[in-house]
Amino acid sequence: MTSSTVEKDALSELLEFHWMMDMIQTVDVGIVVLNRDMKIKVWNGFMEAHSGLLPSQVRDLPISEHFPDIKESWLKQKLKPVFELKTRAFITWEQRPYLFKFRNYRPITSSAPYMYQNVVFSPLVSATGAVDNVCMMIYDMTDAASAKKMLLAFQVKESEARERPY
């Protein structure tokens, strides 16, 4: 192989890496990577836009620094099986409406006071087979949550109306 084809391969790999990073940046799901010390390694565009915090402002800081609502002891307990057993951990909006208090994506047409979130913690297995980092994915569940809340409210109203027919 000549040195110019090696350079070409390296360049195309670099370009590929670039658009892949762009994809992580722009995907409409929050992506945060945490290491074993609960410090933030990756903070994608979704997180940046909704929190108003730049990656440079949060990188290498513990998550509780900017979000004191997220207790480190609680998060550690939650992440223990993810690090140790390589299983996923989940939080649903029913259990905890949001992990990060973000504003509702549609401030005009939606009545929800904040963004309901589903959160997945997924182990990132390194080349050595160990889990040194955990990827946290934050999904916007506001529409589903509002619909379900409306349905429940309707059911309650309906059953109350049946009990009192006058």
């Binding site: 307990q77 939650k78 223990k80 099986p81 140790e84 057993l85 390589k86 299983t87 996923r88 951990a89 989940f90 939080i91 649903t92 029913e94 259990q95 905890r96 589903n118 997945v120 999904y139």
Partner: protein, 330 residues
């Protein structure tokens, strides 16, 4: 000639152990499906060496060891089990077992253990018993579930620092109408909370149901080291954590044996404080027949009752059976 008795409720496991016995052991091999059969066989002189499973119906491995001890029966026992918690090994040794081998057993490990314990002579091997296919496949799934659950139990024990009472997995091809009946073990009087979670990979898809009886929550909170008051919100959190742990570890145990990987969807809350019937009513329309693996977990010294149901779609079964075919080879 040395007489060897293999005691396991799973036919696949019995065959596998028999296959792994060294050719030069020169033993006559006998089988027992549970502890009581084993005790009778030993009394008939058919078990100088006993290879014993722990999780069995009627009389489990621990009870068998106790009975052997109290009757001073002439046998030496090596335990072969999917329960790989460190405490299980210690318990059986305290009850008089010579050694402990983890499932799935392999020929080399069994041979080394037999050498270490001073058995071994020469010639003669096991003659596999004839059997019909459906039973064989059912048994195969059962054994896979058994091994997966042993691993899951070990993980749980390490994370929560408790001794996990491992159930015998119940494997059945069932219709939707039968699902309710299958869950009748879960106390009818008691209200339950449940989550379900879809999984798929390599043409195999299904759903995991994790159902926890409401009376379990106080104890689970204690085990997980939660100090605040156990309200609905916290119960949901505990349920979610339990489900993630059980489903995650069990699925990865099964996936490992199938040499594949499952993707898990996000878990969905089925309901809180309802009876079983109400919980699974919602997905009644979507399927007719399913391969169901039912696991009932308990924790020693705690009032915790948790049922895990792994339901595989009918279409998944061909793929699973072909992936498991190596277990069925003679």
């Amino acid at each position: 000639m040395l007489s060897v008795l293999i005691c396991d409720d799973s036919m696949v496991a019995r065959k596998q152990v028999a296959k792994c016995l060294p050719q030069d052991l020169g033993a006559s091999i006998h089988f027992a499906k549970h502890g009581q059969e084993a005790i009778n066989a030993i009394a008939d002189g058919k078990g100088e060496l006993l290879l014993l499973d722990l999780n069995m119906p009627i009389m489990d491995g621990y009870e068998t060891l106790e009975t052997i001890g109290s009757l001073s029966l002439p046998t030496k026992t090596i335990v072969i089990s999917g329960d790989i918690q460190p405490e299980a090994a210690q318990r059986v040794k305290n009850l008089g077992a010579l050694d402990f081998i983890q499932k799935p057993v392999n020929a080399e490990e069994l041979r080394n253990t037999l050498i270490k314990q001073g058995f071994i002579q020469q010639e003669e091997s096991a003659s596999p018993e004839p059997e019909d296919l459906p039973e064989e496949i059912r048994d195969c799934y059962q054994e896979v579930a058994n091994v997966a659950m042993g691993q899951a139990g070990d993980y749980l024990a390490r994370i929560m620092n408790v001794f996990v009472e491992l159930p015998i997995p119940n494997v059945n091809l069932i219709e939707i109408s039968e699902l309710h009946m299958m869950l009748s073990d879960v106390d009818k009087q008691e209200s339950t909370s449940g989550v379900c979670q879809g999984f798929l990979g390599d043409g195999i898809s299904g759903e995991a149901l994790c159902i926890l009886s409401d009376s379990s929550f106080e104890d689970i909170a204690t085990i997980m080291g939660v100090e605040s008051k156990v309200d609905d919100q916290l119960q949901l959190e505990l349920l979610m954590d339990c489900a993630s742990l059980l489903v995650g570890t069990c699925l990865s145990g099964i996936a490992n044996q199938l040499d594949m990987h499952f993707r898990q969807g996000h878990p969905v809350v089925l309901g809180q404080h309802q009876n079983i019937r109400e919980l699974i009513k919602a997905n009644e329309r979507t399927w007719k027949k399913t391969l169901a693996i039912e696991l009932s977990y308990g924790l020693e010294d705690f009032n915790v009752k948790c049922d895990l149901l792994l339901l595989f779609t009918e279409e998944s079964m061909d793929m699973m059976t072909s992936k498991l075919s190596h277990l069925l080879e003679d």
